[in-house]
């Protein structure tokens, strides 16, 4: 014992037993000088809590030991047989009386781990004391853990959503009982506390860990079991799925159908993959889906058909909205009776009722087009329509829509090669749980998604082995939950099970054995000499009656005796025609539509009206050139197996007003005679014409006349106008004026105005007639507005009046100049008003065209352009020539039909927001192959220059008629101061100008029936020795 320890022990002793020690020392009267020597030992320096430690103590003294005890402080355990002291400590007293004493005690350690001390003290008779201590470290009581003897699962793989049996055994080495607790990172247990349970795998594929925890009250033991969760397991490869199976369809009885992308056939297979044969299809098919006892299939040419899965004839579903455009996927919403079709060439999903009418069209998802649209699938339970696009590198490859409204819901199948991603879709399907299966034609697997779009894993893997996929395209889910994948590159259909057993090798039909699963029981096949072990005889027709053996079984007829075929009425095509309409004479076009999924032969023939040649009589767009007023009807039919009902198209040719031709301006001497000739008036309807001439302006020169020509004696100078009115028998009439200017000997005033004038709305416009010829210098001007919103002209009596147009449009004015005695013929000024940005431009594809009489010719103004990006209104009109047919005159491209040989001029004006364009003109020269109908040719010549006062001769003698007809000559002054022509109807007229200027004339020649184009000639006249 150390000195300090000893001092402590002694102090303890003195404190603990002061009265006793004093009493004992005093009473014994001992002479010892040395305190006793005390030693203490423990039988273990370490022990567990609560255990008992043996204490051995000795005390040696020169005299007898009078007091010898062991003490354990409070909280440090207890001494067996000891006495509890007031301070909580425990004391055991040993035997005393000898100089050397020994004692032993048992020390029960406390239950708490720690280091504890026992102190032994002795006192001799001289009151010398000694003590010693010993310590023991008490460790915690060791735990006895249970032992797990085994943990066994029925498999180390599980299918998603399927159960796995688990069994465990454990015991408690301490002999106690144990409890079980099961847990897993996914999935659920039938019992979480039993030694045996079953675990239901989660819905997603992946690795799961099942953990078992066993407890015995003291501790626990755990064990884990890794389990691979797969969505499906390979079951079979049906190796005769066509050359390139693109789509696969599961039938109601487990049979399957494959659409072969190479042949376009639909192949039927038994549930266990044996080929049955090709169904009757009308076309190369693209996709199919199963309805109630019928396959609905689309064809490459855009048809929709109901295909008989028993091998009967297909039925075309008439498509009310026309043929489908590359319908690569189809799915049936049986509840609503709607077929959803992926029209890949139209980037749209079309909902079509079973009667062929269109119910909805979906053209995009989340603002994106459905480019690359490939397939559709219906999740009826979830109310979801799925569509897939192929290889959308910018986003997702599948999109969900509300099945009822078509509204976009959410995406799935993001592009990529990683987990949950799809590179290029090949087809989609939905199972009863709403899971979406998306085949990845590049990755060689099928990605699976929950209804909400979350990835759930994959099925299959790329490769060319039996269980692998290469170019997987179509997907289908069988009624028992099997997954069918068309492995296109392998020409096979792969079946993956989701817990359902593989298809049986034999089937039953109505309770009878069907060894080859072809739908016909063995006994029936044997009865009629068919092969009960070969499915390929199901679609054959043993008796050649048009019914397949399978049909005969279903119908209960004898496959060896020809039966009368059930009456089937091919679906008749429907020709839809437009309502009757009216048209001006000219080309009349019809646009009809045909509702038939197959190509039909269309035939039209006339049934009413003046006989015409029907163009496109075998097309859906027949047309004819109509001239005579009246109703024209044509009846047509379409035939494609069945024949459509007769459809009738009708158009009425309007009776239009004749086109008067009163002639052009005549300038002549007073006292002379002229003949105004209206015989070149014509009528587009080819009606006979009545003529009425009447003078409408100027000094009276002639009375009214009903002849085609009007002789006029020009009694006095001045401007006169004669109106020609031509009318057809129905009273339709048209009028035109023949202006005549009777010149005096003096030089004539001539109004010359700048035209057209282009102006902006709101900006002042100046009309300019300042270049008019006023020989006397006393001329006065008179302006008259003849077109446009009325405006007030400022300075209307001057050569340059002004006005400010408030609105866009065409304004026209006539100006005359008068020298007091004579009024000039009026000059026309056009003002084209538009926005400051400018006017639209009427542009023609060609300035001149050649045509054949009776044949339509297109007048193309499609190149016209708006100035402000607005829409254009088109207005075509005929300017000159015999009356022609003119249709579509309000379109960019009008159609003209010249009814007679000659030269025609048509004019196009376009309007943009009220702003007119400058007109553009196209000349059409129409020829006829009929003998004697050549078009005369005018050739005009004259001197280039001359002087005032000189007689100037014009020469039209080189004009000619191709048929040798005698020609008439019509010279018309078109520019320069008015001057009368001498002998103006001859081939060589002359004039004597009094004023300098450029005198321009046009020569037209005719053979009394056909008029030539105008030939120009001009002469520059100057004063002798001067300039013009």
């Amino acid at each position: 014992m150390s000195r300090s320890g000893r001092a402590v022990a002694l102090a303890f002793f003195c404190v603990a037993t002061p009265s006793a020690a004093t009493a004992m020392g005093l009473s014994w009267g001992c002479t010892a000088t040395q305190p006793p020597t005390v030693a203490v030992q423990l039988d273990s320096r370490t022990a567990v809590v609560g255990s008992t430690v043996g204490i051995s103590a000795t005390a040696m003294s020169q005299t007898s030991v009078r007091w010898f005890v062991a003490v354990v402080p409070a909280g440090q355990g207890s001494l067996v047989g000891g006495t509890l002291l007031g301070d909580g400590s425990t004391q055991v007293a040993f035997t005393t009386g000898a100089a050397s004493v020994a004692g032993a005690a048992s020390w029960v350690l406390p239950p708490i781990p720690g280091t504890y001390t026992v102190t032994v003290s002795a006192l001799n008779c001289a009151s010398g004391s000694g003590s010693a201590s010993a310590t023991v470290t008490a460790a915690a009581q060791p735990t006895i853990l249970p032992v797990i003897d085994s943990l066994v699962g029925s498999a180390d793989r599980a299918l998603a959503g399927k159960s796995l049996a688990l069994k465990a055994a454990a015991h408690d080495p301490a002999g106690g009982s144990v409890t079980y607790a099961w847990s897993a990172d996914a999935g659920t247990f039938s019992s979480a506390t039993g030694s045996s349970t079953s675990w239901t795998a989660p819905g997603a594929a992946g690795q799961s860990t099942i953990t078992l925890t066993v407890s015995n009250g003291q501790g626990t033991a755990t064990a884990s079991l890794p389990v691979t969760v797969a969505l499906a397991e390979y079951q079979a490869s049906f190796g005769r799925g066509g050359r390139a199976p693109r789509r696969v369809v599961a039938g109601a009885s487990g049979e399957l159908y494959v659409v072969d992308a190479r042949s376009g056939d639909i192949l039927r297979m038994t549930p266990n993959g044996q080929p049955v044969g090709a169904l009757k299809v009308p076309d190369r098919m693209l996709a199919a889906t199963f309805g109630k006892n019928v396959l609905y299939a689309t064809s490459r040419s855009g048809g929709l058909y109901a295909i008989d899965p028993l091998g009967g004839p297909p039925r075309a579903i008439p498509l009310r909205s026309g043929a489908l455009r590359m319908p690569s996927g189809v799915a049936l919403d049986a509840g609503r009776g709607v077929l959803w079709i992926a029209e890949s060439a139209a980037n749209q999903i079309t909902g079509i009722r079973l009667d062929g009418s269109t119910v909805a069209v979906i053209t995009g998802a989340a603002g994106e087009s459905l480019a690359g649209l490939d397939d559709v699938a219906v999740d009826a339970a979830g109310g979801v329509l799925w569509a897939s696009v192929s290889s959308n590198e910018q986003g997702n490859n599948a999109f969900a829509f509300d099945l009822g409204t078509g509204a976009y819901l959410h995406p799935a199948a993001p592009y990529g090669s990683g987990s949950g991603q799809v590179t290029r879709t090949g087809g989609i399907a939905v199972d009863g749980a709403g899971r979406l299966f998306v085949s990845d034609i590049f990755q060689g697997r099928v990605a699976v998604y929950q209804r909400g779009g979350a990835a759930a894993g994959t099925v299959g893997q790329f490769g060319d082995g039996p269980s692998q996929l290469s170019l997987p395209a179509g997907v289908a889910v069988t009624p028992d939950g099997g997954i069918l994948v068309a492995s296109m590159d392998q020409g096979a259909v792969k079946r993956f099970g989701t817990g359902n057993p593989p298809p049986a090798q034999a089937c039953t039909v109505n309770g009878s054995l069907d060894s080859d699963c072809d739908g016909m029981p063995d006994w029936w096949e044997l009865k009629y000499g068919l092969n009960p072990y070969w499915a390929g005889d199901a679609l054959l027709d043993a008796d050649g009656d048009g019914l397949s053996n399978l049909q005969e079984y279903v119908l209960g007829t004898n496959p060896r005796v020809a039966n009368a075929l059930p009456k089937t009425t091919p679906q008749a095509p429907v020709l839809t025609v437009p309502a009757p309409r009216a048209s001006d004479p000219g080309l009349v076009r019809f646009s009809t539509t045909l509702s038939s999924p197959t190509s039909c032969t269309v035939t039209w023939k006339q049934r009413l009206g003046p006989a015409v040649t029907l163009r496109g009589a075998g097309s859906l767009t027949p047309s004819f050139v109509g001239r005579l007023a009246g109703r024209y009807q044509f009846q047509g039919t379409a035939a494609c197996g069945a024949q459509s009902a007769t459809a009738v198209i009708e158009a009425s040719i309007r009776n239009v007003a004749p086109r008067p031709d009163a002639g052009r301006l005549v300038v002549a001497h007073a006292g002379g005679r002229i003949v105004l000739d209206g015989r070149f008036s014509s009528d587009a309807n080819a009606d006979a014409l009545r003529f009425v001439w009447d003078q409408t302006a100027g000094p009276a020169l002639s009375g009214a006349s009903t002849a085609a020509t009007l002789p006029v004696k020009l009694r006095q100078p001045g401007y006169a106008a004669f109106q020609l009115t031509v009318a057809d028998p129905a009273g339709k009439s048209g009028s035109a004026e023949a202006p005549v200017y009777v010149a005096s000997d003096a030089a004539a005033p001539t109004a010359v105005a700048s035209s057209p004038v282009v102006a902006a709305t709101g900006a002042p416009v100046t009309l300019d007639a300042s270049q008019s010829v006023d020989p006397a210098g006393t001329g006065t001007y008179a302006w008259v507005q003849v077109a446009g919103s009325p405006v007030a002209l400022a300075g209307a009596a001057t050569a340059r009046p002004t006005f400010t147009p408030a609105a866009a449009g065409r304004y026209a004015f006539l100006v005359t100049i008068s020298d007091g005695a004579l009024h000039s013929p009026p000059a026309l000024v056009e003002v084209l008003v538009g926005p400051s940005a400018g006017l639209p431009v009427a542009a023609l594809a060609q300035a001149s065209l050649q045509a054949t009489v009776g044949e339509p010719v297109a007048l193309d103004g499609g190149g016209s352009a708006a100035s402000s990006g607005g829409g254009l209104q088109y207005a075509w009109r005929q300017v000159s020539g015999p009356a022609a047919g003119l249709t579509d005159a309000d379109r960019a491209i009008a159609t003209a039909v010249p009814f007679a040989p000659g030269v025609y001029v048509f004019e196009l004006a376009v309007v943009e927001g009220g702003a007119p364009s400058q007109p553009a003109r196209v000349t059409v020269t129409a020829t006829s192959s009929t003998a004697g109908q050549g078009i005369p040719v005018a050739v005009a010549a004259g001197p280039l220059a001359s002087t005032t006062g000189a007689s100037i001769s014009l020469d039209g003698t080189r004009s000619r008629d191709p048929d040798g007809h005698r020609l008439r000559y019509r010279w018309t002054q078109v520019a320069g101061p008015w001057v009368p022509l001498e002998d103006s109807t001859s081939s060589t007229p002359s004039f004597r100008p009094q004023l300098p200027g450029v005198y321009a004339f046009e020569l037209e020649v005719d053979d009394l029936a056909i008029r030539s184009a105008a030939a120009p000639v001009s002469v520059t006249v100057s004063a002798p020795g001067g300039t013009p």
């Binding site: 390139a244 290889s391 959308n392 090669s417 290029r424 590049f442 790329f462 020409g491 499609g862 352009a865």
Partner: protein
């Protein structure tokens, strides 16, 4: 979807120093019917973790090619081509194999000579001695070839005018056609509607680089004529417009060829593709007749029908063709079609036996590498 998605790749290729490759339509970023996205570099290549050589995304080149080409729904070129259509002579199939070793004694096939056919040889090498699609086809910048045969049979020479794809919304239709007598290059066309309206009123621009640039840059723009008319800047293709167009809509199509590595498989010095792997079968008439003293009939040498020789160049021609053969040449200058009639305008294109302009016979006079009518890849099953 961005129409310029290919541009970053091209820029990246330039920055990284990768060899820039010309790209022919439809591999040039042009929208392709049936695919949601245009075919971009990334459609086939990966910058990292690529499984195939040349950074292609799949070790199996056939799968890489077919994963797009099998999506063709129109039936063009006989697509889809599938592995089970690879020919085994005498057994089945209609396509030249694309997965076979380049060496095959049965068919006198050897790997292409690296000097004469460096690219073909290299590609066989990197493919482990096997042939693959790109041994014969250059998917990046194949030659514009002019061989014989109709679309889907010879698989060579016939320009393919693709379906029109629409980007954006517009109800109008664009109908392209090849100009009569034109030699159309491989080219993509994107017609962007500038001002909308009815056909005849609407105007358009054209892009020949998959929408990267359009011409003309400013007005006036070409009108949307309802009758077929040439596209500004291109005389080979005509377009007709119908319906109503919306400004901003882009109509895309392309002219493409089978992207062969060598042109003119029938004309001139043709047959290179065949000769590259089957040189022993490229025999002269002299050798085929057994008159080549350096190539005797010794039981080891095989003889094949002469190639690149004039039809009828047969020293043993005789007058045994029956009555009516006034002369041997006249008899032998006639090729009969499967119906027994003289081959002519009435012969189906798929069954034509073509000679080159000099009247010479070539491999592809009788054989088609794809969509053939027999397992020996003959023009028809005769």
């Amino acid at each position: 979807m961005s129409r310029f998605a290919a541009l970053p790749w091209l820029l990246a290729a330039l920055i990284l120093g990768l060899p820039a490759r010309a790209m022919d339509p439809p591999h040039d970023g042009e929208p392709v019917a049936g695919l949601a996205s245009p075919v971009l570099c990334s459609s086939c290549h990966m910058m990292h973790n690529a499984l195939g050589s040349a950074l292609t995304s799949d070790r199996s080149q056939a799968n890489l090619c077919n994963s797009c080409h099998a999506t063709v729904k129109t039936g063009s070129f006989g697509f889809p081509w599938t592995s089970n259509g690879q020919a085994v002579p005498g057994a089945g199939g209609e396509h030249h194999r694309w997965d076979a070793p380049a060496t095959n004694t049965d068919h006198d096939a050897v790997p292409p000579d690296p000097l004469a056919y460096p690219e073909m040889s290299r590609r066989v090498g990197v493919n482990g001695g096997k042939i693959s699609c790109s041994v014969c086809h250059d998917q990046h910048d194949g030659v514009v070839t002019s061989s014989s045969g109709s679309d889907g049979y010879a698989g060579a020479g016939t320009p393919h005018l693709s379906p029109v794809t629409l980007t954006g919304t517009s109800s109008g239709a664009v109908t392209p056609s090849l100009a009569t007598g034109a030699t159309s290059p491989q080219r993509s066309y994107s017609l962007r509607i500038v001002s909308g309206g009815a056909a005849g009123t609407a105007t358009f621009q054209v892009s020949y680089d998959a929408g990267i640039s359009y011409q003309p840059a400013g007005a006036p723009f070409a009108p949307t004529s309802t009758s077929p008319g040439a596209i500004p800047g291109d005389v080979n293709v005509q377009v007709a417009f119908s319906g109503t167009f919306t400004a901003g809509a882009v109509y895309s199509f392309y002219v493409s060829y089978p992207m062969l590595r060598y042109p003119n498989q029938i004309a001139g010095s043709g047959s290179q593709l065949c000769k590259a792997c089957h040189p022993a079968r490229f025999q002269s008439a002299l050798r085929a007749r057994g008159e080549d003293l350096g190539y005797p009939a010794n039981g080891t040498n095989y003889f094949s029908h002469p190639v690149n020789e004039a039809f009828g160049n047969n020293a043993y021609r005789s007058n045994d063709r029956g009555a009516g053969c006034a002369g041997a040449l006249a008899c032998q200058s006639t090729i009969l079609d499967p119906g027994g009639a003289n081959q002519g305008s009435g012969t189906p294109p798929s069954q034509l036996i073509d000679l080159d302009a000099s009247g010479n016979v070539h491999c592809m006079s009788c054989h088609y590498p794809h969509n053939a009518d027999s397992s020996s890849l003959s023009v028809n099953a005769r």
